[in-house]
Amino acid sequence: MGSISRVFVANRGEIALRIIRACREMGIESVLGVSNVDKDSLPAQMADRVVCIGPHPPLQSYLKVGTLITAALGTGADAIHPGYGFLAEQPELGEACMHNGLIFIGPKPENIRHMGDKLVAREIVRDLGIPVIPGSELVHDAKEAGSMAEKVGFPVLLKAAAGGGGKGMKMVRNPSELKSVFEEASAEARAAFGDDRIYIEYLIANARHIEVQILADRYGNVVHLFERDCSLQRRYQKMVEEAPSPAVTSDMRDKITQAAVAIAQHVNYENAGTIEMVLDQDQGKFYFLEMNTRIQVEHPVTEMITGKDLVKEQIRIASGNPISFAQEEISIKGHAVECRINAEKPDANFMPHPGRILSWTPPEGHGIRIDTHCYSGYFVPPYYDSLLAKLITTGDNRSKAIHRMEDALANFDVKGVETTIPFYRKVMNHPDYLNGQIHTRWVEEVFLNG
């Protein structure tokens, strides 16, 4: 495998732009595949070349492996970056790249296959002596689920083995509702993933979502870039992320980062990945949740506290180079907070609100980063996710970063589409958030209820 001189970007929106910029800084050309509604997008204007890969439904464009490979080969690209979402965690794209002499900028197909299956991943991790959330392997029917749930103790969480993004994930409070919820969960899992395997997990009531960023190269080097805290979620969708976590002590940090590195080493992982964990705040214990085999939406907070460019590292590693730094060369510098600004109506149950952005005036200034593909006049198409921008602020410490975020949100003016900015302004002023006293269901149970 040789070096990379032209990258085909198989994604859209802010992450496509992020990849194009990284390529440009590295002197690498970029080719962007767009659906017909994305031809005028900002990444399309920034890429060195653009090809239209199909109509707007993702199944006819961004999710077509054969089309993407043909487009990459036909435009002389030597590598494909999948971004996040779409085909990023489908081993088929990496395999098709291998068969066609293209470099997949991401983990090996077998890494994706093993760690993408939650049950396989749980087994691998448990064998390493890393705690997994008490629960079952697999339950085949409601009856089996019932006896397993009794053993684990209510409330329990039913989860899809092939799951992700909260789909097929259901809470069961007591035995009487188990049967109906089990059927709902397996139907949802079948519809979303074509795989209705369900497993049961003990529900941690006072949980934080903590994840460790790792990088691994083909020479066996694995480094971690500390943790991110993504506990502020709504319906299992992350909304605010920060690094480092206000709930992680340095002793805990050593444990979880070592566990993350051990997992990556054990599976011969390559490229960027994230080990997601749950912190039981009542017990002070960590459990492995899952591994994400891609660059993540919230990667900028890690970049801001470490000064490392994760997308460039991905490209370097995929080119066959070692990671550009050693573990002891990085440390946590200050604090970073990220808000995902979506085109949604916070007052109407976060209903998506696509449409024409009449005016777009993002905040500027020291300690503010914004990753976005939006501009005044841009039409937010209704066919894709509603992420408009990731607003990231930094500070010497957490309260300074949050204060800067409040200020940045106040100076973020968007007209034409409704956004989640007003929601985040309230969150940034809430004493629970300021004191770091939240859990993964805080938004639904406390904030929106209060």
Partner: protein, 187 residues
């Protein structure tokens, strides 16, 4: 009236747009404004083609079944697959009497012949009928034939053999055999 502002310009554009005027020139001191309607401009580029009468048709982007789509534009520039998308960039998808663009129903490699060395399916000037195959578009060893779908004469082949063509890119211009046109005339 010494100058025009943004609102004046918008008004001028609207008035010219709704009128039958094809060209509009305005000179005010240092300001020079020259407007030319796209139908006129396109006819100029495709030399020899008459200024066509535009008729209405469904927008290309609204359809999800591209293989059956055939829309025409008022002119074919000879430019093939420039860096940012070629014909697919053109907002023109209005139907024009007489000329029909055959567009790529999917992205892939364009082949003019059934196999290397074989004679091409069609050449410029050749008459075709609805069921005639015009080309093949290959995606990962899957070969998709593109049919003419109309009766007419191939006026121009806009893609190169063996090259990548994009979704919705114009591949052929076909001069349709005369027939009754439906649709409303439009300015």
């Amino acid at each position: 009236m010494g100058s025009i502002d943004h609102d004046d310009l918008i008004q001028i554009l609207e008035i010219v747009g709704q009128s039958d005027i094809d060209e509009f020139r305005l000179e005010l001191g240092e300001l020079k404004l020259f407007l030319k309607k796209s139908s006129a401009a396109h006819a100029d580029r495709a030399s020899g083609m008459p200024v066509p009468e535009r008729t209405e048709t469904a927008s290309l982007t609204e359809k999800s079944e591209p293989p059956e789509e055939r829309t025409t534009s008022s002119g074919a520039s000879g430019k093939v697959l420039p860096e940012t998308g070629g014909e697919t960039d053109s907002p023109e998808s209005a139907k024009v009497t007489g000329y029909t663009a055959i567009k790529a129903p999917l992205l892939g490699t364009f082949y003019r012949a059934p196999k290397p060395g074989a004679p091409p399916f069609v050449t410029e000037g050749q008459s075709v009928t609805e069921d005639d195959t015009l080309c093949i578009i290959e995606v990962m060893k899957l070969f998709n034939t593109v049919k003419a779908g109309i009766k007419g004469t191939i006026k121009e082949i806009c893609a190169e053999d063996g090259q990548l063509v994009e979704f919705d890119q114009t591949l052929f211009w076909v001069e349709e055999n005369p027939k009754q046109e439906l649709g409303e005339a439009q300015a």
